[in-house]
């Protein structure tokens, strides 16, 4: 089943008189339960593509369909609601809310989706326990290791059972062992929850976790395997 489908998306920036084509006619379909890895050099447009697929940027041309909605056509007011219902985000540098505990960080997206606080707290606790953070529920991020922070970040991304989980360089700030563990965690999350996982990364050590490998170069997307 298709979790996300993008067709002919382009993102063109003006730089003075010149046009910069950050993403040039990319089309991609993300299937439920599948892990896709996009690799490519810096400046190739892979993060811009991630923004476009996640509704964080509006394409200059093309369409991105998720759950029946075309993100390119949605109003700014409706986009946050569509994001909270359909997407989970994992960031390179975790981006946990510093003054909230691990559990509360995972609660936040659920509460934004109007899940009652008690239920959200319970679900957050279970999710973190499944990710082997049961003893760290009430720790602030500053008390967690890098790997633990990324696991909290993954739990937060999975909190609303998203159709699509977008991960931007999820292993960049982790050592090799932890990087592989996090990639494997995302792989298992895709299998268990049925979410389509899209990772963009330079990290060649995590290709084993991907079902599909794509290359982004000069704004163009092409299959590698």
């Amino acid at each position: 089943m298709d979790a996300l489908r993008a067709e002919g998306i382009e993102k063109v920036y003006a730089e003075g008189d010149a046009e910069v084509r950050a993403v040039d006619g990319a089309s991609i379909t993300l299937k439920a339960g599948e892990v896709t890895l996009i690799m490519g050099p810096s400046g190739s447009g892979k993060t811009t593509l991630l923004f476009l697929l996640g509704g964080l940027l509006r394409p200059t041309r093309g369409h991105v369909w998720v759950n029946g909605d075309d993100l390119a056509a949605l109003s700014e007011r409706k986009l946050p609601r569509v994001r909270i219902r359909n997407f989970g985000f994992v960031f390179q540098d975790f981006n946990l809310l510093a003054n909230l505990t691990a559990r509360e960080n995972v609660q936040v997206p659920m509460e934004l989706a109007r899940v009652p606080t008690a239920m959200a707290a319970d679900r957050a606790g279970k999710l973190l326990t499944r990710l082997e953070l049961g003893s760290r529920l009430d720790f602030l991020p500053e008390k967690l290791s890098g790997g633990e922070k990324q696991r909290v970040s993954i739990a937060r991304a999975l909190a609303n059972r998203p159709r699509v989980l977008l991960a931007d360089e999820p292993t960049a700030n982790l050592d090799s062992k932890l990087g592989k563990e996090v990639a494997e965690l995302l792989r298992r999350a895709a299998s268990r929850t049925g979410a389509a996982v899209l990772m963009v990364s330079h990290d060649a050590r995590i290709v084993d976790a991907a079902d599909r490998l794509l290359l982004m170069e000069d704004g163009r997307l092409q299959a590698m395997t």
Binding site: I84, N99, P109, E169
Partner: protein, 371 residues
């Protein structure tokens, strides 16, 4: 909702304490000003309200008893008593005089000479001694007594005549001066020419219409003007409003602006130092409305902490003022507390303007590294 607002705000407790103090001082400024104004406003009407009269009669053109001066012939007493509906008439003298206490102190007082047999115009609340001074006696206000070391039995002199303090009254402070009370006959010819009075206090007969009696007096005696108790009290209080309100509004505005600035700076700093986190919230699906609620909650929390600090600082300041400047009468009411509560909420709302504009401009994509 997990309290992101409170957590972010209270993260730096020193900053919150300093800010609460700043807002507290702004609230204190507003409350002390309001208390001073209401105190003056209340005091301005106490004498007339407690006079026991139904009508005040003074010289035509004199509309209040505070900064106008009336002088009328004493024989008007009988003429006024002859007006249908008048039960009795009491002539009083009310003048600002110097009291001579000891050899060097000459405090000013509003001296009221009244006829004790009519039961009008005397002190209405006595703390010590007699309510009705006898021959050669005077009742002085408690603040006057405290400031000048007067007690029952002390001697004061007015225009060369000696009086013995027979009573100490309360609620008879009027800004920087205080009321003192003697018998009319004791100062007739001493502070005004003989056979004259400042005002006539008229008591109407049971069942008589005070407005009708007032109209009759104004009609029959062209040189005088009669006021109902409400009118003269309102006129006195309008003197205070006219004098103080423009100054007060200016100072209220300054206090309000200080409050807005302190809350605004605190919330702005708390917002900006977490701007990346607000970007994260936007990225994961929070709308600008949710972020606005977080910032507004911070501002309201800050204002409420400031309000609590302000109430505490005001209580301490009022107590200090009561001790050091007793004639500065502060009168606090629930309305004032409600007013500063609303003012604090108003400060919060205005203080969020800048942080909200900045939040609205945060691009959720900016929290990802560029690739």
């Amino acid at each position: 909702m997990v309290s992101i607002a409170a957590r972010n705000l209270l993260h730096d407790r020193t900053r919150v304490a300093v800010s609460a103090g700043g807002v507290g001082f702004a609230i204190m400024l507003i409350l002390i000003l309001a208390g001073t104004y209401d105190g003056f406003y209340r005091q301005a009407g106490l004498f007339t309200e407690n006079s026991g009269a139904d009508l005040f009669v003074g010289q035509a053109g004199v509309v209040d008893t505070l900064h106008s001066f009336s002088i009328l012939p004493l024989n008007l007493t009988d003429d006024l008593a002859g007006v249908p509906g008048v039960e009795r008439v009491c002539a009083i003298i009310s003048r600002t005089v110097e009291l001579h206490v000891g050899d060097s102190d000459h405090p000013k007082a509003i001296l009221v000479g009244y006829n004790e047999s009519h039961g009008t115009a005397g002190p209405w609340r006595i703390l010590e001694g007699e309510r009705l001074p006898g021959p050669g006696e005077i009742v002085v206000d408690q603040i006057m007594a405290r400031k000048n070391g007067l007690s029952l039995g002390s001697d004061v002199r007015i225009g060369g005549r000696g009086f013995r303090v027979a009573g100490i009254s309360a609620e008879t402070n009027m800004f920087i001066m205080q009321y003192a009370f003697v018998r009319y006959g004791e100062i007739e010819g001493l502070v005004l020419p003989p056979a004259t009075a400042t005002y006539f206090l008229v008591k109407v007969s049971p069942g008589a219409d005070a407005d009708r009696v007032q109209a009759l007096i104004n009609e029959r005696f062209p040189g005088v003007q009669a006021f109902t108790l409400d009118e003269i009290t309102t006129n006195n209080r309008n003197v205070i409003s006219g004098l103080f309100l423009p100054i007060l509004l200016t100072l209220y505005t300054i206090g309000f602006m200080i409050g807005i600035t302190v809350i605004g700076l605190t919330v702005y700093t708390a917002t900006m130092e977490r701007s990346k986190e607000y970007g994260v919230l936007k990225a994961i699906g929070s709308g600008n409305g949710t972020l606005a609620r977080i910032v507004l909650t911070q501002a309201v929390l800050m204002a409420m902490l400031g309000l609590l600090a302000g109430l505490a600082i005001t209580a301490a300041t009022a107590s200090l003022i009561g001790y050091a400047v007793p004639e500065m009468y502060l009168y606090f009411t629930p309305f004032q507390i409600a007013f500063v509560f609303v003012a604090a909420l108003g400060m919060s709302a205005l203080a969020t303007t800048l942080p909200l504009r900045r939040l609205a401009r945060i691009d959720p994509a900016s929290i990802f590294r560029r690739g």
